[in-house]
Amino acid sequence: MSAGADIATARPARDVPVAPLLFAGSLALYIATALATGQHAYLTGEGFVGLTQRMVALGIVALGQTLTILVGSIDLSVANLISVSAVLASFIMKGEPAMIVPAVLAVLALSAAVGLVNGLIIARLDVNPLIATLGVGLILQGLLSASFSNFAGSVPAAFQAFAYGRIGPLPWSVLLLFVLAFAIWLMLTRTRFGAHLYATGGNRDGARLAGLRTERVMIGAHVLCSLMAGLTGLYLASRLRAGAPWVGRDGVYDLESIAVVVIGGTLLAGGRGGVWGTLAGVFLFATLDAVFNMTGIDAFPKQVLRGAIVILAVAVYAVRSKGHVA
């Protein structure tokens, strides 16, 4: 999004450690609610494992979304790509353990291709990323729903280990989420591509003038984001034992992934932020789900509260920023 630069020109005030504050606040809320409602099972090891399990699907896709937002773009097609990936995976596997590897490869290849298309439309055709990825999402969903109208195929038991297997007390999938976060953090802070990503997001024209191939950076970020969406689709196929064409849309992964990234302190304009804030944002959402369950709040007030919390979580640090926001 050459556009990104104007979406929000304000900079957060310096030295607000968004990630640890958000994480600590969420944790405190969780513990306090569990104690107040007397649901001590939520405070056991198993309770916390359940809490982190709620983070996985949104967490993986949000890590990818962090990259597109950092580079000054955005991706609204992730929810649809998640559905496509989940369905494709279970359709290819059809319960056959031998087909796991081909299915995973096919999903990753397709995801990368979608990311490439997104990136090309945005970087080469100069289409606003919001519209480009909205359009690509519609195209994906249309083709998917035209071909499949229900759960298609199934995943073999071996593949279900991805979502249900554990090492000791820790689920594989939770471990994967944190490994991915760590890997992306390394990439962002220790590699040239990471530096270019921040530079492009911070000031695309400046980066281009400084000799960066900003188009490639933009495309790279989109490919990575789509790959993460593909992984989320694989995870959901494993967890639901099959993929259905509505899993991504029902999960509202597009808007929720954007919301957690911004709540985590990444600037919507690009150039600033990182993965730990995003993970903290995902943790907040998981905590809210658990807290709402513990308190047994009704569905509709829950929506009102969630909307207010999304705004307040961003406002808490944004309010101190200088300049104008649009």
Partner: protein
């Protein structure tokens, strides 16, 4: 888009021509095809009926246009439409005597929603996409909370008439839907506000470059708040027409915000501000609605209609970006 800051603002006439070109050309092509498939659409009556159905989307697009011109987004429009319809049925309770004050209250609610959106963006510095996303969730929840999850009453007949009544035996046109008259009035006001007032110029200036606008003495904060108020009031208007046209339901506003944004963009509006025309937004909304109608008439399988929508959306914006670069 990086071009925004540097490229010179085109003359009003050129801007007008551009707005017409993208959206209107697409619309005429689509509408022509519709009329070939179903000749009734060629008649005045067919066209007016088409306008009657498209009126809510056009009004939403005009409201959204102000926010986009000012550099933001309003994602809360759709759920405000839902709130309007559900709230209207709650307040009026099927009694025609309640209609007028109910409409007054609905506009007050809209005013409140717009103010909150605007103040959250300008004072709390929350980017509009997040501020209005939060508002979307909250308003939807609030509408359902208020009504207990399903509409509790009917909309009275005189409320329904605003979106449903069609005057028969009108000279020249034959019929005249009341909602089309409302539409014309609304679009007229919107066009005047954006293109003929100081406020309109200020909106475009703020969207183009808020810092420069501020230096030039534009009240940036107040302008931003006002565009959200305009957007919210247009959502209430659209909600009244939709409720009138089709009655109460809980899903009425779903997804309308993205359609409104898409309509503006097809009409040549620049996302993140600075370039916008009401003619373009109207043409964009008409194109989008004509596209939905055409896809219905062609009997295409439902899912593929989405695919075609996606392709058209990208194509329209890519072509306008391409023209921008050549301009």
């Amino acid at each position: 888009m990086s071009a925004v800051a540097s490229h010179t603002v085109p003359s009003a006439a050129l801007r007008f021509a551009r707005g017409i070109n993208v959206g209107l050309a697409v619309f005429l092509a689509l509408y022509g095809t519709i009329a070939v498939l179903q000749p009734g659409y060629f008649e005045v009556e067919g066209f007016l009926n088409f306008l009657r159905r498209a009126a809510p989307l056009i009004i939403l697009a005009c409201g959204q246009l102000f926010v986009i011109a000012g550099g933001g987004f309003d994602l809360s429009m759709g759920s405000l439409v839902t709130l309007t319809v559900l709230g209207g049925s709650m307040l009026a309770g099927g009694n025609p005597e309640n209609t007028w004050w109910t409409i007054g209250v609905l506009y007050l609610i809209g005013l409140g929603v717009g103010l909150v959106n605007g103040l959250v963006v300008t004072l709390l510095k929350v980017p509009s996409i997040i501020a209005t996303l939060g508002m979307l969730l909250s308003l939807n929840g609030a509408a359902l909370m208020w009504s207990g999850g399903a509409p509790r009453g009917y909309l009275p007949e005189n409320f329904r008439a605003l979106g449903r009544l069609v005057y028969r035996d009108v000279p020249v046109t034959g019929i005249m839907p009341l909602s089309v008259l409302i539409l014309i009035g609304f679009v007229g006001i919107a066009a005047w506000l954006l293109h003929a007032t100081v406020f309109g110029r200020q909106v475009l200036a703020v969207g183009d470059n808020p810092r420069a606008a501020e230096l030039a003495g534009v009240p940036v904060g107040a302008t931003r708040v006002l565009v959200f108020v305009i957007s919210a009031l247009s959502a209430v208007t659209a909600g009244i027409l939709l409720g009138g046209f089709a009655g109460v339901s809980t899903a009425v506003g779903q997804g309308l915000e993205l359609q409104a944004i898409a309509a503006c963009v097809i009409g040549g509006a620049q996302l993140l501000g600075g370039r916008a025309s009401v003619t373009g937004a109207v043409a964009g909304a008409l194109s989008l609605f004509a596209l939905f109608t055409l896809l219905n008439l062609m009997g295409l399988p439902q899912p593929l209609r989405e695919t075609v929508q996606g392709l058209i959306l990208i194509a329209a914006v890519a072509s306008s970006a391409w023209r921008m670069r050549r301009a």
